[in-house]
Amino acid sequence: MEKATAQVRASVSPPLIFEQGRPGRRAMAQAPSVVEPWEDLPAHLRRNAPPALPEVSEMQVVRHYTRLSQRNFSIDTQFYPLGSCTMKYNPRACNTLAMLPGFLNRHPLAPAARGQGFLACLYELQEILQAVTGMQAVSLTPMAGAQGELAGMAMIRAYHRARGDLARTEVLVPNAAHGTNPATAVMCGFQVREIPTDASGDVDFAALEAALGPRTAAIMLTNPSTLGVFERRIGEIAERVHAAGGLLYYDGANLNAILGQVRPGDMGFDVVHVNLHKTFATPHGGGGPGAGAVGVGERLRPFLPIPYVLKEGERYRWAERADCPQSIGRLSAFMGNAGVLLRAYVYARLLGAEGMARVGTYATLSANYLLARLREMGFEPAYPERRASHEFTLTLKGLTARTGVTALDVAKRLLDYDFHAPTVYFPQLVPECLLIEPTETESKQDLDRFVAAMAAILVEAQEAPERLREAPHHLPVRRLDEVRAAREPDLRWQAPIDSLA
């Protein structure tokens, strides 16, 4: 029986904006009305032919991109349980207030005296993040989680070097970690040593102890881990790593699970990054911009990336190189993703202390509820003995063995039911993995609708597995030929030859 309810419907891709133009038709109503001279521009520095950009009217542009937007799933239109990405509601006030003209028109190099309002927001955000992470100082400049990781690992490198401890070249990373962790460690000049996970989903403690030594620079941990469980022996891990002379890096990807409940600083971490586009509800924007603020304990404070905001009396100013000669330096031309920081600040003030505690509580409640209901429907948790954090992993290996239906098939079929798919095949150590994160902003009734869809899909998997293998059926396109996309890369539109004549 057809149960699909997709709101983003099957339809032919609109022609590219380039293909909608006509030579000489221009949207130039919004461009300067005159062509000004540039008399001293030497011929050999001049462009010969104009770039092949669209020649379309303003209304064509508005209509085209409005139609493209309607071919997307988004939080504003669908439940988006994408594990590890914390797709919670992005409050509209955050956008409206960050886009007030006084903030939008402020030049990044304008003197601090002309930006006291802006700097006050950033300073207070630093303080709030410091409090909820349990760290001693915060810099807001990293522009995404991965850049926060880079800042953190660069600080750890600088710390060991400043002590003359040049032998610490290894970074320990659990095999369940996000791919950004090992990639970052390598960018900072470290060698990566992978630590296995034990049968219950915790770090394999014996393997960790065996790996620790005079070459250990740090361990990078996500807690709760990417498996959706809390690392129970974190206290002992911190003790052992510190005793071996290493530092602990906290990947804040899963901070939403414990916001207001536990602080990374209290767990023994020396540096954390916070994904403000996850825990602090700033928009994901179709793939960014994010923000990856870093917090540090006393030991790493001298190495914080610049700029950050200092308060002197009632005045705010930027900390620059002269204030912190040991800083790892800049990570961006100006002040990171300043507008994202303003959005996170508004969100933090709207929630306040009591709201922050609610985030962790309700995110955890929703995840455990969803896990219990899906289990009841016959889905298999990857770690059945464990509590869920704000997310949890299911393994479909049993279903795959019985029916041939894979995690990817289930994910694609969910799209037909008008739900965004969970994260699939990550963490890689869970076979046929679905990583599901409902967040605190979805209602019980929406979670129940999701459970009903999953239950229906389970029935379909047994009765009509080919329907799942062929899914999605009702989206703008069906499964795409990714092999062709990679083997014969078509990465840009090119003007047809006859139009160049």
């Binding site: 104009p50 997307n72 793939g287 960014g288």
Partner: protein
Amino acid sequence: MPFIPHTPEDVQAMLDAIGVTDVAELFDEIPPALRWSRVEGVPPGASEMAIARLMRERAARDGDDLCFLGAGAYEHHIPAAVWEIATRGEFYSAYTPYQAEASQGTLQLIYEYQSMMTALMGMDVSNASLYDGASALAEAALMALRLHRGGDVRRIWMPAAVHPHYRETVRTIVEGQGIALIEVPYDSVTGRTPAAALDDLPDAAALVIPQPNFFGRLEEVDALTDAARARGALVIAVVNPLAMAVLKPPGAWGAAGGADIACGDGQPLGIPLAGGGPYYGFLCCRSEHVRQMPGRIVGRTVDRDGRTGYTLTLQPREQHIRRAKATSNICTNQGLMVTTSTIHMALLGAEGLARAARSSHARAAALAGQLAALPGVSLRFVGPFFHEFVLTLPRPVAPVLTSLADVGILGGYDLSAAYPELGHALLVCATETRSAADLARYTAALATILGDDA
């Protein structure tokens, strides 16, 4: 509860389904000693009305100055339609298009963006964006080292005429990998980077060529490209994308094939100043280099029924597949800013962008003429510039800028910290947004301030 929809009945039903009596039980795997009893150090929650008032007051305090600051961030007119469309929830609140079938809007838009950016740069391939211009230059440097045939050359030629913040960002990001930046001096008369300066320097994997450079000067890009090639180095262009509507694009530089990599900041294409971000970095390259490119890339393909569709492609370069062997650690990029820029470029077209670039130059040239006519003020360099120029003032710049700010004018960027050898040097910018009256106001104010101590 703001943003949390659970009613007490919902909560009870959920607890029952889980089989616990209290929410606190859900945290029973966390060692009790680690639990935080009460959130401290965070102000109490406030209503949207109260926070809106606070933010309006703070935004108003930041004033509405007449801006002649550039130095890497430029005020241009952004058509109203750009942000109206870009902040639609379907763009604003979506994530990276991992599920292609449910993300055709974002994916087609990125494909169009890649098409526009390659057209503007005269290059073969563009990625889907990086964080900003400075970090894009760092990624370009790392990419060039991977591509360089010489193997062990861990050096990049970095002109002193590249934005000082870009140079510092590159240093922060590449330092961990033992890469050295070799400074290429600029000519003290023209403010340009002379190709002959490379003769005195050890070999490097790549030469960075800014166009225009930090002083606003137009570099001799062909000569520099050819000089780098002659030494076996790759060429990395770091350019203002708006200027490329009028200037020779990186793909056409030099005698053979143009630059290898073109990067820069997309801010001049529809992104407001916004205190420094979010902007976005763009990165383009020649097609033979694509497998060393960092970041997401979108390709056009077909679905099972042969219909056109778009998907993320060439992913084996990336961290989620390759982990420690990836081309970069980048994951999230600046999708929303690319959405903005794509709409901006579609609205203005080649002609509109060229007009904005030419108007900016014309305003800057007019302002340069007016200011350099003031007693004791002169242009520091000779030769063509885009929309920025360096003035020499008769006395230290900082107090002059403070006096200008007191009358609501941001007079430019004081070069004396980054370039002490230039003396009392001030970098001034004007774009198409500055009217003749604005220029006159600046000129009069500066005349008054300098006249005061005459």
